[in-house]
């Protein structure tokens, strides 16, 4: 045991050492407490949930600070060193995604605490468990552990998708669950093949083993590409993206807002395995070449066409999520750190903005009564702040200056300028942006400006402080990310630089000791 246990620096504070696991433990403890507090009514569950997201956000800020020292913090669960034990690895990318999830889940929970959570049972524990799965998926450094956290996240999401009831949710839930179960089966096959060929499931060790000459290269490549296919299903790359618009549009508004980060889990996973494990090994360096960029561009075009045809604001927003997923899926195939940095900035703003639009769609639908958020002229809304929030979010979503969406897209376009498919990327992204702008401008005008005489003006709907602050929290990044573009994009650059230094990650996780391996037939 002493030989394998990680060498801990005794000078380190105990708390700093255990900080990495806090984003997973806090919501998990909250979920258990909420189940225990069920008898005390929904107010108790709400308070526990809100305390949990507050603590989670504080922990996430701390992790961002810890990760910004530049070293990869490795947390050995069970105190067995990698690759024998399971580790969590905190680098800047993980910390950034943890913070993003914490903020997004905070806003979604605030919104849901204003009545949505009473439309079904067990909303609060499920919500916290979904956060556990998301944070775990971003933090883990082990591929099988990634599978487990994916399943935690998915199981909670299945139940959250059905929350509130109704035929549409059951129906799209059934398709969503069946598809993801098939995806999980593929994930396990990929992991089995990876373990069979490489003898390890630790990401850093996989990276090292892929470079060794005595592996079965064909089988290893097959395992890697299966893994990418599973992540592409979660990230909704084109032939695997038909589930997304139905599932996201059917989910309740705060659930859909939280789901926005789920496609990002797939994208970040592809990025991580590609940059850390596949790209440095000659056997797998060309794994994503030639097919990922065309498919990602096709996803963007497909999403833009879908957005033009969307009948409701929530459908349109689901297509926007798909468009940003397609844009971000370009990145793993383009290995420059500069592209990654631009994409990370774009990822932040697109997550917030899409979540904000889901919440706004629900608020608009509530005021318009039976017209819901269908794009038809209807009653006057009497809500200038709602229109203003929509304007901000929509302008940032399509990338109009001076909002964060514009900066993100500009940085991305500039970063890909020297890559081979630059012409295709530029024309598709700009054309798709134009289509999305058309869709949002036309339909936004119809929702907020066109009045039809048949409908009496909408009654006064009071929006409580919780929902108002949730919307404010999600819309404000469109401005804040512009105002603080310099520090944020600097952080994104440092994140990308650290991610692309895959050797540093590998040696941080595995240490410098030689790993003795058995000879297998």
């Amino acid at each position: 045991m002493s030989d394998w246990s990680p060498a801990h620096n005794t000078n380190e504070l105990i708390m700093t050492q255990h900080a990495t696991i806090l984003p997973i433990l806090i919501p998990f403890a909250a979920a258990l407490l909420q189940l225990a507090a069920k008898g005390y009514g929904i107010a108790a569950q709400r308070s526990i949930g809100l305390i949990s997201v507050l603590l989670g956000a504080a922990a996430a800020c701390w992790l961002v600070q810890l990760a910004d020292t530049g070293s990869v913090q490795v947390y050995a669960l069970g105190n067995w060193a990698a690759p024998f034990g399971i580790v969590l690895a905190l680098d800047r990318l993980a910390a950034m995604m943890v913070l993003l999830t914490a903020l997004l889940s905070g806003a979604a929970l605030l919104y849901a605490s204003d009545g949505f959570d009473e439309r079904g049972r067990h909303f609060h524990p499920l919500f916290q468990l979904q956060v556990v799965g998301l944070q775990g998926a971003f933090l883990t450094g082990d591929l099988f552990n990634l599978f487990v956290f994916f399943e935690v996240m998915l199981l909670a999401s299945y139940a959250l998708l059905a929350h509130g009831g109704g035929m549409a949710r059951t129906r799209s839930g059934l398709a969503y669950v069946a598809l993801n179960l098939a995806g999980s089966a593929l994930f396990l096959i990929a992991l089995g093949m990876l373990y069979g060929t490489l003898g390890t499931l630790n990401l850093a060790d996989v990276a090292q083993r892929l470079q060794s000459p005595d592996i079965d290269i064909a089988l290893a490549r097959l395992a890697c590409i299966l893994l990418v296919a599973v992540f592409a299903l979660k990230a909704a790359l084109l032939p695997l993206s038909f589930w997304l618009p139905h599932a996201y549009a059917a989910a309740g508004a705060p659930v859909a807002a939280l789901f926005v980060i789920m496609t990002k889990v797939g994208i970040v996973s592809i990025l991580r395995v590609q940059v850390i494990a596949f790209a440095p090994a000659t056997a797998t360096a060309d794994l994503l070449d030639g097919w990922l960029v065309p498919l990602a561009l096709a996803t963007v075009l497909f999403a833009a066409a879908g957005a033009l045809a969307a009948p409701r604001l929530r459908d349109l927003t689901a297509w926007l999520v798909l468009a940003s997923a397609g844009t971000l899926l370009l990145v793993p195939a383009l290995p420059q750190a500069m592209v990654t940095a631009a994409a990370l900035y774009y990822l932040m703003q697109s997550t917030f903005v899409a979540a904000a639009l889901f919440l706004l769609a629900a608020l608009v639908a509530e005021r318009r009564g039976e017209l819901s958020d269908l794009f038809q002229s209807g009653p006057r809304l009497h809500a200038p702040w709602l229109a203003l929030a929509f304007l901000l979010a929509a302008a940032s979503a399509v990338g109009l200056p001076p909002f964060a969406g514009f900066l993100g897209k500009l940085m991305l376009l500039q970063a890909v300028r020297d890559s081979a498919p630059a012409a295709a990327i530029w024309s598709v992204l700009l054309f798709a942006g134009l289509l999305l702008m058309l869709a949002l401008a036309k339909n936004g005008g119809r929702l907020f400006w066109e009045r039809s005489p048949d409908h009496p003006p909408a009654g006064a709907h009071r929006v409580g402080w919780r929902r108002a602050s949730a919307v404010a929290l999600l819309v404000s990044p469109a401005l804040l990310l512009t105002l603080f573009a310099q520090p944020v994009s600097d952080y994104a650059s440092r994140t990308a630089a650290q991610l692309h230094d895959s050797q540093a990650y590998v040696s941080a996780v595995l240490g410098t000791k030689e790993i003795k391996r058995e000879q297998r037939p």
Binding site: R171, L174, S184, A185
Partner: protein, 108 residues
């Protein structure tokens, strides 16, 4: 043994995929169950097939890889829970639409 084992996995997978592509939720559930059996067997084989060997490392003695057994156990538990949820969802869809085809419309 390898041939028998791989044939079993192949047949289970083929049946599972065939059933998954059927238009009824009942066959979908059955198909996913068969597929997860196949996957569990496949995972089990990833540590190599070895007869009459304990999953313990002793000096010089033959042993079998214990890790896939732990992986399979995790996969079984997760798959079981997921399938149970899918059955519940399928029953709810059946109750709401009176029809267990996967793209049924609402009962009118």
């Amino acid at each position: 043994m390898e041939a028998l084992f791989s044939a079993a996995i192949g047949i289970l997978t083929a049946c599972g995929i065939f059933l998954m592509l059927r238009p009824r939720t009942f066959s979908l559930v059955l198909g996913l169950t068969l597929l997860s059996y196949a996957v569990n067997l496949f995972l089990f084989a990833s540590g190599r097939l070895r007869m009459d060997a304990p999953p313990l490392i002793r000096d010089g003695a033959l042993y079998t890889d214990p890790l896939p057994q732990a992986l399979v156990l995790t996969a079984i538990v997760i798959g079981f829970g997921m399938t149970a949820y899918l059955v519940m969802l399928a029953l709810r869809a059946l109750a709401e639409s009176g029809d267990d085809s996967v793209d049924a419309k609402e009962k009118t």
